[in-house]
């Protein structure tokens, strides 16, 4: 159904258009994290990656 793809693309394009000023504001004026804070985040997201890989392995046929 091509009309659905077009509507989805338009909707996502609208989201991008709405989010660009917010993203720009956060990048310019948002708080900056220290390397320790980013390391903690990387470890947490790494844990999520490992967990998802484990789930994928459990259902793999």
């Amino acid at each position: 159904m091509d009309w659905m793809k077009i509507v989805w693309a338009l909707l996502l394009g609208f989201f991008i258009w709405r989010m660009i000023p917010t993203a720009s504001h956060w990048l310019k004026h948002g708080p900056k994290g220290s390397s320790k804070e980013w390391m903690t985040t990387a470890m947490l997201l790494g844990g999520v990656v490992l967990f998802v890989l484990l789930l994928m392995k459990s259902v793999a046929r």
């Binding site: 159904m1 793809k5 989010m19 708080p31 900056k32 985040t41 994928m56 259902v59």
Partner: protein, 225 residues
């Protein structure tokens, strides 16, 4: 004496702030639990009624539209709660045909159950970490926003190209990004950056909803569904 008064006032303000944060947190999790349950019920209704894919898509668009344009006008009133249920219910109706399709495959029920358990596990682990440590993840804001813009761009490309690897990469990226948003949104509630529980509920609901659908897609691919 003036100093003692100032310390006392500061302590009162601090305890008031903690009480307000706890109230927002409790209200958010209560509303989140109810909306997740309601959305799941609507997904089951959608599967039993057999809503066509086109109608399901319209429900999804309507749910997103209510969250984006209608909800902000009512987020400070009790009508906002009704709007949250309406939007999440529509998203539940919209996801019904997709779950029904996965359930129809031989390994489908296990895949759907694993996706649900996995989503719950990710949510509990990340929220639990932020709630326990009370760390501030607001520094992730810019990174997450840029990541979301890139991901939306990739989704637009994937709509008009047949690249299974790109679709898998998008699902994996979405899980990571929404996990980051879980940390960001929860820390904003705890540290007083978000004081409206209706807005907080919608943010967490969207994170959980996207993690579930993306995980379902990845597990479906691995299970040959």
């Amino acid at each position: 004496m003036a100093d003692l008064n100032s310390i006392s006032q500061s302590k009162t303000r601090s305890s008031e702030s903690i009480l307000a944060t706890n109230k927002v947190l409790r209200s958010t999790y209560a509303l989140l639990a109810m909306t997740l349950l309601f959305s799941a019920v609507m997904a089951v209704v959608s599967m039993y009624v057999g809503i066509p894919r086109g109608a399901a898509m319209i429900c999804t668009f309507a749910g997103i539209g209510i969250m984006m344009f209608v909800l902000p006008k009512f987020e400070n009133s009790s009508t906002g709660i009704g709007m949250v249920f309406l939007a999440t219910g529509l998203l539940g109706l919209g996801i019904g045909p997709m779950i029904a399709a996965y359930l129809s495959y031989p390994n489908g029920p296990a895949t759907v159950a694993t996706a649900m358990a996995g989503t719950g596990g990710i949510f509990l682990a990340l929220s639990g970490y932020v709630l326990t440590t009370k760390k501030d993840f607001s520094f992730m804001g810019g990174f997450l926003m840029v990541g979301l813009i890139v991901l939306f761009g990739a989704i637009i490309v994937s709509l008009f190209t047949a690249m299974p690897a790109l679709n898998m990469a998008i699902s994996a990226g979405m899980i990571l990004l929404m996990s980051g948003f879980l940390l960001f949104d929860t820390s904003r509630i705890i540290n007083g950056g978000e004081t409206n529980y209706i807005r907080a509920t919608v943010s967490l609901f969207i994170n959980i909803f996207n993690i579930f659908t993306s995980l379902l897609h990845l597990l479906g691919v691995m299970g040959d569904d």
